[in-house]
Symmetry: C2
């Protein structure tokens, strides 16, 4: 039997399922228990919320709702809501079935993903689902079902023409190849609607970096407009509702600190399917500090990508590269944007490692979709870069997305506080501490303070003389600079041996 | 690096881990992300809390703390707290290891249980642990480790003498044998410190029922006093901190609606070990509506109980009974207490099924610990019951625990609103709908309104004439009575065939 309470706004955010707060006495009266899900209805709307409890924060006759519901729905304060305690959804049965080691049908997998999207399953339930990917084997067929369900439960974009993409599996700092690969590939006329993510625990994601040059948060309509005008874009994928289950699954896996590989493959592929990609190059750095520690695993993952590609009619090439240190010189949005622009604008100080990797990836993609003969992709990509066509394409991207296309790489760090550090001895660089670099760059203010970050003057193997610059700190204010300098006294970025 | 914020009390309860609420801007400043755990210190205290976020409910420089922390610790408002974002605990690694199918050492299992108890693991993490019991095999040795760790991470009680107990696995309505078995067994001089639980989704637990006769919420010191004076007690086990991990694990399994069997065995045994029990009879109803649907599973569970008993030096006997309908006539605290008292006071209307089952269980326990010869336990138990010794013992329990020992079974429902229903046709009872009975009893107000519930005049197989009483509703107020009568029009308690 439903009961009725008036809505009250509570300014809290749990970042998981929707949360509804009942008075203790009312919870008892209506038989609502810890862990119960409530169905909340008003007008034509229906949401599922997890029950929390209070003795004073809502008045008798009211129900408190956390911020997420108010952000996602039009709901008036004091609106009368019809509330029902829900029995367990069928998707729970499917999750238990998988935990017990049985195969799931498409219908069962779809019910799980759909209930994640409409917040019918809470974080705890999603944890059980994630646990099943650790503990149980998912067949290729099941991975196909998962991918399909994830793509279908969100927005699906359609573009006409040869739609291509490049994706980096991640786990490597400063790997900003997208901002170079996209304009190169787009200059040949291919459609490349590139979406990227923001940093979660790192000092910058590609979306944070691109944001230094232009706004990156755009609607689906805008993206279609960009692609129509310029056959490409470089935007943040987070606001598009593409494969929305993925985000919530990632959050539920957060406490474990690792992501099941199957889950990673499915979430990448679901987004590509939803974006209508037909040719895809996957950049897969393999190494002890990346997500994929060894080649055996890398080959296994490659096979699964290729299988799913076949099922969805997508041509895929996986490029494995050995990863030992960050790509490029800068860490932090503006500094990484400067690296990318230096490559596009052919600046003498451009990072050669970033340029080489971008040309490799662009070349492979051109070969994969027939824009270059086998073995000739790299030459074609380099030619597009050197002739200035890539920079021309990038300028159009920046302009369309609302940025200043007259920007020069060397203007990007104007206004930053800088502090350069120098070597105290002669020798060579034998180690670079990625983790310290990331932590210090965040302490300096990255990614939310765009100018903040660290520029590395040296790489592993470089020779150093006493007094040579080692790295430079960038910050937007004195306070953060001094915080980072203090922290530097307790850690080490470079190890120099004589 | 730690940061410092002032404590603010927030009147919310999430019923899982401790929750600390940060302002959005401060979370960004200190690099706190959704799903992070915070270590919060002040004076000699240290707690682990899950991070939630708000834009307005705490002021700059403050951190909001949900109710649980304030209930568990002495903490002043405005106290300066030292806060640190925690890296993942080692117990997480152990959980992942088990999800991947490897065996755990005692040290690893202990780290998981300890982190559950000190709230270092949140609900989502505990879900991963529960998932491992569904998906992976736990060896007998691992079950022993789990039991030991659960017992050792909470309060441990020691009594001298022969300490015995009876435990019902549950899942059967109205199964109030403890209130009869305890006085019978205690009358022979055995030590039986019985702890029971309250109802979660049912209309009454043994603790709710016993509470009709006396208070049941007592300290460990009080329990020791009861046992010293009267060699037994009948109290609520929830406030004693005995095997405290269990409660949190149960909550994390709540969304699934089922409990892994291994988990059930371990949680029962951990409590018995912590209570110092040496002889234990386990009542295990087997049937489609109970927790254990078939005999094969029942035998498997029995083997595990016996194995653990051996490891802990505890003599165990498992009694399996076929379960097809509720035991006794009443459903709801006062009505179930009346059933038990009618048996103890030898009332002509006493429920014979409840009496028989209690005598069986008491007899088995007497035989197990040598108070009766093989095959003679039931006679001895019946004799104690018929001679009034059991009622005498119960009166002393009620008096010591602060109740009225002059109570008569027929006074227990005084003051209730009653509504009797009658059969509209002649025939016999071919089905009883347990689920409807439970739901209607709760709707009438059980378990919080003690007088509320349903008394069944008929059982499966009984003959009925037109106009015979079928069942009676009891409530504390008119409103609930009319609610339940309305609901009755949409469901069916008894099916009568002519």
């Amino acid at each position: 039997m439903p009961f009725f309470l008036k809505s009250k706004k509570l300014d809290f955010k749990a970042d998981g399922p929707y949360v509804a707060v009942l008075r203790d006495d009312e919870a008892e009266r209506f038989g609502v228990h810890s862990g119960d899900d409530l169905e909340v209805r008003w007008g034509q709307n229906k949401v599922i919320a997890e029950a929390d409890f209070t003795s004073s924060k809502v008045r008798s006759g009211e129900i408190g709702l956390f911020r997420e519901i108010w952000e996602d729905y039009k709901l008036k304060k004091g609106e009368i809501l019809e509330i029902k305690v829900l029995s367990r959804p069928r998707s729970i049965k499917a999750i238990i079935k998988k935990l017990l080691g049985k195969s799931l049908s498409y219908r069962e997998i779809y019910s799980i993903i759909k209930d994640i999207v409409n917040r019918r399953l809470g974080r705890s339930e999603i944890s059980y689902f994630v646990a099943s990917s650790f503990a149980r084997h998912y067949s290729n067929e099941e991975l196909y079902y998962l991918t399909k369900a994830m793509a279908e439960t969100g927005a699906e974009l359609k573009f006409s023409g040869k739609v291509v993409d490049k994706h980096s599996v991640g786990g490597l700092a400063g790997n900003r190849t997208s901002m170079i690969v996209v304009p190169i590939v787009a200059a040949t006329g291919l459609i490349i609607p590139k979406t990227s993510s923001r940093a979660v625990t790192s000092p910058a994601g590609t979306a944070d970096t691109m944001e230094v040059l232009s706004p990156v948060s755009h609607s689906v309509e805008k993206i279609k407009f960009f692609v129509k005008k310029n056959n490409c874009c470089l935007i943040w994928g987070g606001g598009l509702n593409v494969a929305p289950a993925d985000d919530r699954i990632i959050r539920a896996s957060h406490p474990l600190g690792i992501e099941p590989y199957n889950k990673m493959i499915v979430s990448i592929m679901a987004k590509k399917v939803a974006m209508g990609i037909k040719y895809l190059v996957i950049d897969m750095p393999v190494g002890p500090t990346t997500k994929i520690p060894n080649m055996k695993l890398a080959w296994d993952i490659e096979r699964k990508f290729l299988y799913l590609g076949k099922r969805f009619g997508m041509k895929i090439k996986v490029i494995m590269t050995e990863a030992r240190e960050p790509i490029g010189r800068g860490v932090g949005p503006a500094l990484e944007a400067r690296d990318a622009l230096r490559v596009l604008q052919r600046h003498p100080l451009r990072p050669i490692d970033l340029e080489k990797k971008s040309i490799k990836l662009a070349g492979e993609l051109l070969e994969l979709c027939g824009r270059a003969k086998a073995g000739k992709g790299k030459d074609r990509a380099l030619n597009i870069l050197e002739s200035g066509q890539a920079w021309k394409k990038m300028k159009k991207i920046i302009k369309l997305q609302g940025g200043n296309s007259k920007i020069n790489s060397e203007q990007l760090t104007t206004g930053a506080y800088k502090q350069r550090f120098y070597s105290k001895k002669k020798g060579f660089v034998c180690a670079v501490n990625d983790k310290s670099i990331d932590e210090l760059a965040r302490l300096l203010g990255a990614p939310s303070e765009k100018l903040a970050g660290i520029h590395m003057h040296l790489r592993i193997g470089d020779k150093v003389n006493k007094g040579d610059p080692t790295f430079t700190f960038y910050a937007q204010g004195r306070e953060r600079m001094s915080l980072a300098r203090q922290a530097l006294s307790k850690t080490k970025i470079l190890t120099i041996k004589s």
